[in-house]
């Protein structure tokens, strides 16, 4: 297991043991800003090396996948888990979008295994943030009588997700890295590249504290949540890996696309859905995304998806 994951476990144990260890809110936000910018910059510097013609079609396919995944999750949640339309759409939105930190753990894992991957992947992360959320919300609202609650205000909503800090910083980093190029970025390496793993470790410490705090959310329907929160990621990961193969990605790329597909958003999605789907129970979606799927993905998921990718390559 990558040592970075040990920091997650430390945080989780501390929280479960009711330690008074707390990460200040400002530090949490700072680490998130750093990770998003750094990932974007890294990708941007590399992207110059590739031709738009090669990347564009892949990008479209990846976005299409992002829109497809919630359509798979939704019926499962409606039929098997008997969830309300709102809850099913809400959870589908979380699993349709992606977790940037899960992605960061993935690239740390590949770096450790010295596995190459298409270095413009951060672009895919940014592109995958939004579509799943939009589709998920559409599913939650579809066929609702106007009597039930207020209609979604799509303008503000799209504005919110498209200009949420995740997309802005990832895209901003990509563009800056792309314009500045390797030499231009050099003076920033000290902060944005050399410290990346360490900052990721600190963030995972915090994620451990938070994730363990979510476990309370499981008590009500823990069986469903443990099942859904671990099976769906694997299912989605396989879809991602197969798409990666179809797009001719490297094994590393297939692994990452699988990981992205199997990851659930806990930054962009919760904010957007809380406003757009008020009736949905956030304890359920957050409990799943943070309490089950995130820990599963960074511990067992990453190596598993890599093995599958190698097998299917």
């Amino acid at each position: 297991m990558d040592p970075v994951v040990l920091f997650f476990l430390l945080g989780a144990v501390a929280r479960l043991a009711k330690s008074d260890l707390r990460i200040p809110e400002a530090l949490y936000e700072t680490l998130a800003i750093y990770l998003l910018l750094a990932i974007g910059l890294k990708g941007g510097v590399e992207i110059a090396k590739y031709s738009l013609g090669a990347v564009a079609p892949q990008a479209l396919a990846v976005m299409a996948m992002g829109a497809l995944l919630p359509l798979i999750a939704f019926p499962i949640l409606r039929i098997f888990a008997k969830l309300s339309r709102a809850d099913a759409g809400n959870i589908a939105a979380h699993y349709g979008s992606v977790s940037v930190v899960t992605f960061a753990v993935g690239i740390a894992f590949l770096a450790r295994q010295q596995v190459e991957y298409e270095s413009y992947f951060p672009l895919f992360v940014a592109l995958l943030e939004v579509p799943g959320i939009v589709i998920g919300i559409l599913l939650a609202k579809a066929g609702r009588k106007s009597s039930e609650g207020s209609p979604v205000q799509w303008g503000p909503l799209l504005h919110e997700v498209l200009l949420g800090k995740s997309v802005v910083l990832l895209m901003g980093g990509l563009v800056i890295g792309w314009i500045a190029g390797p030499q231009g970025i050099d003076p920033f390496k000290g902060l944005f590249f050399d410290l990346f793993r360490g900052v990721l470790a600190l963030f995972l410490l915090e994620m451990g504290l938070v994730a363990a705090g979510r476990i309370a959310d499981l008590k009500s329907r823990w069986l469903f949540m443990l099942g859904f929160g671990t099976v769906i990621p694997v299912l989605f990961a396989v879809i991602g890996i197969l798409l990666g193969k179809a797009l001719g990605l490297s094994v590393g790329g297939m692994t990452l696309l699988g990981l992205l597909a199997g990851s659930a958003s806990y930054i962009a999605a919760p904010t957007a859905t809380r406003i757009a789907i008020p009736e949905a129970n956030p304890g359920l979606s957050i409990g799943l995304a943070l309490g089950v799927t995130f820990p599963f993905n960074i511990t067992l998921g990453v190596p598993l998806y890599h093995a599958i990718a190698k097998h299917l390559a």
Binding site: E25, L209, G213, Y266, I267, P278, G283, I286
Partner: protein
Amino acid sequence: MQTHPKKLLVIIAEAALEKALIKDAKHLGAHGYTVAEVHGGGSRSERDADWEGNRSIRMEVICDPAVAATIAEHVLSVYCPNYSVSMFLADVEVLRPAKF
């Protein structure tokens, strides 16, 4: 010192509602607002601000009783059913009635 009676409306809610609450309050006649970041707990859950979705705000609006009532009822019907919200009203005095 000549003072004038006003109502103080305090709304404690999920941070996710801040933008909406400010917009609605102004729309319904508030001349201003003050927001503090808080944490707390109630019937729904402990909101210990340990991550984004778990932050709470405490919004204060000084206004005429009628405006306070309108805002309170609006919040009660629109947000209370689905969100963690607490509200209370208090009688206060101000020196510049026109301001509030």
